[in-house]
Amino acid sequence: MGLLSDPVRRRALARLVLRLNAPLCVLSYVAGIAWFLALAFPPLTQRTYMSENAMGSTMVEEQFAGGDRARSLARDFAAHRRKSGALPVAWLERTMRSVGLEVYTQSFSRKLPFPDETHERYMVSGINVYGILRAPRAASTESLVLTVPCGPDSTNSQAVGLMLALAAHFRGQIYWAKDIIFLVTEHDLLGTEAWLEAYHDVNVTGMQSSPLQGRAGAIQAAVALELSSDVVTSLDVAVEGLNGQLPNLDLLNLFQTFCQKGGLLCTLQGKLQPQDWTSIDGPLQSVQTLLLMVLQQASGRPHGAHGLFLRYRVEALTLRGINSFRQYKYDLVAVGKALEGMFRKLNHLLERLHQSFFFYLLPALSRFVSIGLYMPAAGFLLLVLGLKALELWMQLHEAGVGPEEAGGTSGSSPPHPPTQGVGLASLMAPLLVSQAMGLAVYILPVLGQHVAAQHFPVAEAEAVVLTLLAIYAAGLALPHNTHWVVSTQAPDRGWMALKLVALIYLALQLACITLTNFSLGFLLAASMVPAAAVTKPSGPRPLYAALLVLTSPAATLLGSLFLWRELQEAPLSLAEGWQLFLAALAQGVLEHHTYGSLLFPLLALGLYPCWLLFWNVLFWK
């Protein structure tokens, strides 16, 4: 660091940074994107391996043979559900008791902040049913969970059937060392959240529910099952949980082991594992899978009922039976055997799953990228912000020292008059106003839904989304309204200081997000960094404005939706895309209120105000 203490060398370094700033920024950005794309290729992806001793070397022989029983139970369940129009609680209780479980129910109710148009629900109340298989000669200190979330439609009946058949089979075995909880939740994830909160005796989301009567100690792992057909062509596994949390990689390895053992066709993000890594097709397919995972994780939505368990430090994943047009199909016995094997190996666990990775990306089911290898991609992107901030800092600093030095480095800007620093007051106004805008975006849509619904011919849910968009767009008008509080002296120094603050603010936010949810951080960085770096009040303003608008958080969301559907090979038309965008906004707000998802407050209170600062810079007068 003597390099920086020596003023002569420091000045030389500063000149270098200033002169090469633009090429360095471009290089860094390109390096970041290239690094990310390279994550899908073999040197950066590694084969997954089982780290947990207790699950690695032990052998289990699956004996489940209750396929017929599962199908008949599923038929009964479906019939009872159709008859009652809700979860057949009494039937479930009776059936669980008859297979020898200790059965409890839990009723819950929740009034959503506004009507959920996607799931068509508003005032939700339901009953969860769960049965506990007590491990013999054990003290109920640890447990495993097999859960089936049931929605209002008649899906997932086969999952309930298979779960009950498995319960009957498990009940007859004497090797269990951990209790097993078989949980059927109503209103899918809402029920799961209600049950989890009651199990841990906390209230995170304002759910009202009856206390649980039966517990089974600390939950070690959970598997959620979604199955809506008697036969499946493949099993899809979902790992992404609430706020991008992931289960320990060993749980996924376990699933993959039994996929291979049972000869099941297993997919990740609906994509098969590429067979050929030598040609270009394999890595290309894994790039698609990787991008899908990144989009899924960035959304912060639980990708299945398992996603809610992760908050409570319960490793969990969702298995989804897919029935497509493929010729070869597996029956419920094959799925049941895979589950039996997984549960028997989880039963062997001596400690919580902790050996393997908690932070990873998956370009394929058997390949992963560890945190040490994917972090540089985001690091390169954030470096751009750092370089730009450094350049601005130096320009501001040298402007104070002498006009000729600053003028020599940035030819376009006129020489600055030597003034004493930049008044904080001139920065406070845009900072406060944009932050207030963010607060308005966060609070007003839900708060003002009734007012909006009264005065405009829209439903509450639409009112929320439209208010949200209106306030969001109104933020764009701010620079014209705020400039009167900004002192007019030293205009250049003003926008430079503001941009410097905005750059540092953005870099800090993105760095923090990247540490907890890499995908979200990377996506936002990839979209927001270029516009943030180039924005200034001089030059081609309309071009900059267009670029800024295109890379604003909302536009990023819209673009991500299109990319997501494109990768799923179900491209969207513009109108569909817009509809999906509105639905996604509503879902984002709802999920924040119902599950505690953090994407909406993060965008509304953090990134949107920050983005507004750049908008202010662009229209600086």
Binding site: L4, S5, D6, R97, R134, A139, G172, Q173, A218, E351
Partner: protein, 444 residues
């Protein structure tokens, strides 16, 4: 099953000190008995007791045959509950206790699981449970009996049928309710000799429906609430299901020191109202020395659930103090509940020498209530654990990085650097400046 678990929670019963014999007991004796209790859930509990008495110094008689033929390991370990106990105590042989005998009492309790052994059927027989039948009494035993609990649970009588029909029955008040037992005395020639073997069979006349089994008057649950590795809450639920009687319980908690209890957060609520304990004894923990000790006398209102909760913070242990499996979690021992639970039927104190052995498991001190000691489930609490494979690398690396960067950055941030031109013309210039200062002219 619920009942099985409840039994496992249920009784570690006081072996009261009241058995000092009044009459002159026989010098050497062996009594053995087996109590079979069908539970409403369809499970069956079987309790063996072997009581041996011998003169001090003398050899003791050991049983061969008799009930011990039923003790077949692979069947006994196929059960859902299993508990063994051995008690040795002196027994006075006269009123002044000038000479003593020794008593060895061996107890084995198992709960057979209807679903594992019976493939879902709820009918039982000795053979089905133990894969053995009884053929002869123990030749050394002075008493060798099988008791089968045939008390009917429902309103209607005769839900349960035993075969062969018992020659005698025995009635007693156990844990506050009247019980009827069918008695098979192996020393009675008629019991065994008819078919050369005794295979007691139980048949449910009307199989118990798949409904929740009846609950006892007092039971408890305990769990850890909260999530995350910083804080949490220990909650104990005490259920009094008696329809109209309130009774006090003594709750004893020992909590390891690494759960730092916040005693001011102790809350006890019954029926939504605060329940003030009539007595509290608290002894705070000392790190690495002694655990927290919390003892309370709480009145449980009739037909109520009482929640006792106290918050805690998880301590960070020294890294050598972690167990080899730190991610398993750390056990917190069960709470102990002691209570005098009101009886349904008044019991009369029985003569221990005359009554069956299992009677001594349920001591009676007072006819209106019976003593119960319950243990709640133990808890498994995760503590924050370091990554044990990493500390050395991480400590070295971070210390180096911090040491290198900190000093330089601190310098850069707190000092300003300026280039000072090397002075020229040392002595002459100083002299000139002296003169200039005297003249009041700016220095060179």
């Amino acid at each position: 099953m619920a009942a099985a678990v409840r039994i496992s929670l249920l009784v570690l019963l006081l072996l009261g000190p009241g058995g000092w014999g009044q009459a002159e007991p026989p010098r050497d004796s062996l009594r053995e008995e087996l109590v079979i209790t069908p539970l409403p859930s369809g499970d069956v509990a079987a309790t063996f007791q072997f009581r041996t008495r011998w003169e001090s110094g003398g050899g003791q008689p050991w049983g061969q045959g008799g009930l011990s033929v039923l003790l077949k390991a692979d069947r006994l370990f196929h059960t859902s509950y299993h508990s063994q106990a051995v008690h040795i105590r002196p027994v006075c042989r006269n009123a002044h206790c000038t000479s003593v005998s020794w008593e060895l009492r061996q107890t084995l309790s198992v709960v057979f699981d209807a679903f594992v052994t019976g493939q879902g059927k709820k009918d039982w027989s000795l053979f089905r449970m133990f894969s053995r039948t009884l053929t002869e009494p123990c030749p050394l035993a002075s008493e060798s009996r099988v008791y089968v609990d045939i008390t009917s649970y429902g309103q209607d009588n005769e839900t349960l049928e035993v075969y062969p029909p018992p020659l005698t029955t025995y009635q007693d008040v156990i844990l506050g309710s009247r019980k009827t037992y069918a008695v098979y005395d192996l020393l009675d020639a008629a019991v065994v000799s008819n078919s050369r073997s005794l295979n007691v069979q139980l048949k449910w006349k009307r199989p118990p429906e798949n409904e929740a089994p009846p609950v006892p008057f007092l039971y408890a649950q305990r769990y850890v609430s909260g999530y995350g590795l910083q804080s949490g809450e220990l909650s104990t639920l005490l259920y009094n299901t008696h329809p109209f009687r309130a009774f006090p319980v003594l709750l004893l908690d020992t909590v390891p020191w690494y759960l730092r209890l916040y005693v001011h957060t102790l809350t006890i609520t019954s029926k939504g109202k605060e329940n003030k304990p009539s007595y509290i004894h608290y002894q705070p923990a000392q790190d690495r020395m002694q655990p927290h000790l919390l003892e309370m006398l709480i009145q449980l209102p009739a037909n109520s659930v009482t929640k006792v909760s106290i918050q805690f913070e998880r301590a960070l242990l020294k890294w050598t103090e972690y167990t080899p499996d730190p991610n398993h979690g750390f056990y917190v021992s069960p709470s102990v509940l002691s209570a005098l639970v009101p009886s349904v039927v008044a019991a009369k104190p029985a003569d221990w020498e005359e009554s069956p052995l299992f009677n001594s498991l349920f001591p009676v001190s007072d006819s209106s209530s019976y003593f119960v000691r319950l243990y709640t489930e133990p808890l498994l609490v995760s503590l924050p654990t370091p990554d044990f494979s990493m500390p050395y690398n991480v400590v070295c690396l971070t210390c180096t990085v911090v040491a290198v960067c900190y000093g330089s950055f601190y310098n850069l941030l707190t000092r300003t650097f300026q280039i000072e031109e090397p002075r020229k013309g040392g002595l002459a210039r100083r002299l000139a400046n002296l003169i200039r200062r005297a003249r009041g002219v700016p220095l060179l």
